[in-house]
């Protein structure tokens, strides 16, 4: 008897569990999925007429909110769908990083370039994305927080994908920022002070830097006798070695040096700047 009782209770619990879980995801997932699939093709063909036919663009806006609800449930599948849309809406430079979904979305930009961003970004977000591309990149933490908040704030949803699509470019952007604010003395001090490499390595590194500088000096004095391409090759090789040596012990310094790569090259290759070194 007790066995049947417990079995009965377990069965009830299982049924109750199914009853709790089944209703909630269904509507959200269905709406979100259909919106995403249906939305892009019409926007590609004729975005304006369709929004007029149905109760305006508001219908589209109402359908978008469920999207973020779908995203957390199936993060892997949802992320690629969102990212490419924003990539095209914000910056075409990132497009090559996400090839699969780009092709369906590109048509809208061909026909009416001004319509595409608005259809993707939704009324309120439309003015925001273009200028906020760079800021969004600098705040990765916000991207993590956004998906959960998106449920309550539909317009923010457009910003979330922007941030997700941005990370690949983030390193390049930060590198350029680092390059613009290059502090050679600080880098030198950090190299001297780091514990990641020993004394011998530091001396060897200094030897190689001195040697390269000597070659640059020869280049600037003798109207480019060693070709600049050769110097660039040597320079790149040296930086690669430095990176190899530092990356395990002091990855931040290695990253900083690699980030300053172009700025340092700018100093070395420019005769005026080189003379001031």
């Amino acid at each position: 008897m007790p066995v049947t009782h417990t079995l009965g209770i377990l069965l009830l619990l299982q049924l109750a569990g199914c009853a709790i879980f089944s209703p909630a995801p269904e509507p959200a997932a269905m709406q979100g999925g259909t919106v995403v699939v249906e939305r892009l093709p019409p926007a590609a063909q004729d975005p304006l007429p369709r929004s007029v036919d149905t109760p305006a663009g508001t219908l589209i806006i109402e359908r978008l909110p469920p999207m973020p609800e779908v995203v957390p449930q199936v993060p892997v599948a949802a992320a690629p769908l969102i990212a490419p849309v924003t990539v095209l809406a914000t910056s075409p430079a990132i497009a090559p990083a996400t090839p699969p979904v780009i092709t369906p979305v590109t048509p809208p930009s061909d026909a009416p370039p001004s319509v595409a961003p608005s259809s993707v970004a939704v009324p309120t977000a439309a003015p925001v994305p273009p200028p906020t591309v760079a800021p969004a990149v600098t705040k990765p933490a916000a991207s993590v927080a956004v998906p959960e908040k998106v449920v309550t704030k539909p317009p923010v949803k457009a910003a979330a994908p922007v941030v997700r699509a941005a990370p690949p470019q983030k390193t390049g952007a930060s590198a350029r920022v680092g390059a613009s604010t290059l502090d050679l003395d600080a880098l030198e001090q950090r190299l001297k002070g780091t514990d990641a490499i020993g004394v011998f390595t530091k001396i060897a590194l200094k030897n190689q830097v001195d040697e390269l500088l000597k070659r640059f000096k020869t280049y600037h004095e003798s109207d480019g006798k060693p070709a600049l391409t050769q110097l660039r090759q040597s320079y790149d090789q040296l930086l690669a070695k430095v990176n190899d040596v530092l990356k395990n012990g002091d990855p931040s310094l290695a990253g900083e040096i690699m980030g300053s790569r172009e700025a340092i090259w700018g100093l070395l290759s420019d005769p005026v700047k080189f003379a001031k070194l």
Binding site: G198, T201, A204, L205, D244
Partner: protein
């Protein structure tokens, strides 16, 4: 009794010193091996990993690599780090 105690304490101190000194030396050797490894890497010489180091003089070492290469790495009078294959 006192002399025995003194001997015992000395023996303990000696033992403690040896126990502590051995890892310290090992750590120094590891650091040196790593340093020489990075140096060889910078100089573009094949090595793999430096597995043993023999000190010949101040800043003059013989490094044996995991790929069986042996190098003399030293600081020459001009202040340049030099590596010679042995």
């Amino acid at each position: 009794m006192n002399s025995k105690k003194r001997d015992l304490s000395r023996a303990l101190i000696l033992a403690a010193t040896l126990v502590c000194a051995a890892p310290a030396t090992a750590a120094e050797n590891d650091a040196l091996a790593k340093d020489l490894n990075s140096t060889l890497q910078l100089l573009g010489l094949p090595c793999g990993q430096v597995v043993s180091v023999v000190t010949q003089a101040n800043r003059d070492y013989i490094a044996t690599c995991s790929d069986k290469n042996r190098y003399r790495i030293y600081l020459n009078p001009q202040g340049k780090v030099t590596a010679e294959k042995r």
